[in-house]
Subunit: 190 residues, 2 copies
């Protein structure tokens, strides 16, 4: 666990997703972990904080989420772009060793011992599934309540992103298609 | 209508939202238009393309969406940051003249004569509500099927964003909180 891994108050959780970053979705059940990439994750409410995420029926991560009732959304950083692409392309169903192959290191917060967190991200949100079977079946849409949040305090502190003063390698990513992302750009205040 | 206003194939619609931009949500019913800002809009499916958007019960725009069954998501650009903030802060319920006050100019595509589009945006997605009363009541969450799409072809063409070669004033916005946005940053290809 990095010394910069710092709790974020739950009522600031939405700020971690508000700018629309691509996320990694991780989950664990019965000692098995997996991680996939997702562009379709979004804040849904402020307090208690809720999120939506789209998890395709073909993914192993979805199976782990359905079995455990828990998922983690975390924000990969600029040096993790290739890893993010690979985690979104290779399925654990055909690449059972994909986490090791793509250099994913997992760690755990003491308070959430079965929520695997991906090393090197800018922020992490542990979410408990609020079961909505119709949404999950018809739209692959999962709703989660955020129950624990941390950020790398070099880039998010006192409730604010500090991308412009943090090292550039802590910028988050916004995926488009075909291996192309945009990094989070300069701050604009009105 | 700008000469750069160009149709986008429906199967490329998700690419307009994939990078997580802040949107303006517009709607019209019985000759009344309104526009609000929203950070919580997200792609939901590729084909037919679907989106989610969170519309608070307190908003006039939601009333128009519920009455007409149609909403437009559009992507404001860098020079529109202050307008976006104002449209997300002032409600038409207390500021009935808010569109004029904040300099919003509306236009219409001939094929969608009751879908008001906001001038100056980078892309526009007209969506038909797929009624999901439980989501709408419990979570303020609306699902829409995208039925018509356009982009400013100076910044999105042949199915790709071209932020790095387009004028900087066509960059899209990513809202955080308290009047602070991030602009879409540099391209990162893996």
């Amino acid at each position: 666990m990095s010394p910069d891994f710092t709790p974020v108050p739950l009522n600031k959780a939405y700020r971690l997703l508000n700018h629309g970053p691509t996320v990694l979705v991780s989950a664990e059940h019965a000692g098995v972990q997996n991680v996939m990439a997702a562009s379709w994750a979004c804040a849904l409410d402020f307090a208690p904080p809720k999120v939506t995420v789209v998890l395709d029926k073909a993914t192993r991560t979805r199976e782990l989420v359905e079995a455990s009732g828990v998922f983690v959304l975390q924000l990969p950083t600029l040096p993790m772009a290739a890893m993010t692409m690979a985690l979104g392309t290779d399925s654990a169903k055909t690449h059972p060793d994909k986490l090791r192959q793509h250099g994913v290191e997992l760690f755990y917060a003491p308070s959430q011992p079965t929520a695997p967190l991906v090393q090197g991200c800018a922020a992490w949100l542990v979410c408990r599934v609020l079961p909505e079977p119709h949404n999950q079946q018809a739209y692959d849409l999962f709703i989660g309540e955020v129950v624990a949040v941390w950020a790398d305090e070099r880039v998010f502190r006192n409730g604010h992103w500090e991308f412009d003063t943090a090292p550039d390698e802590l910028r988050t990513l916004h995926y488009v298609a075909g291996g192309q992302f945009y990094a989070t750009g300069p701050s604009v205040t009105v």
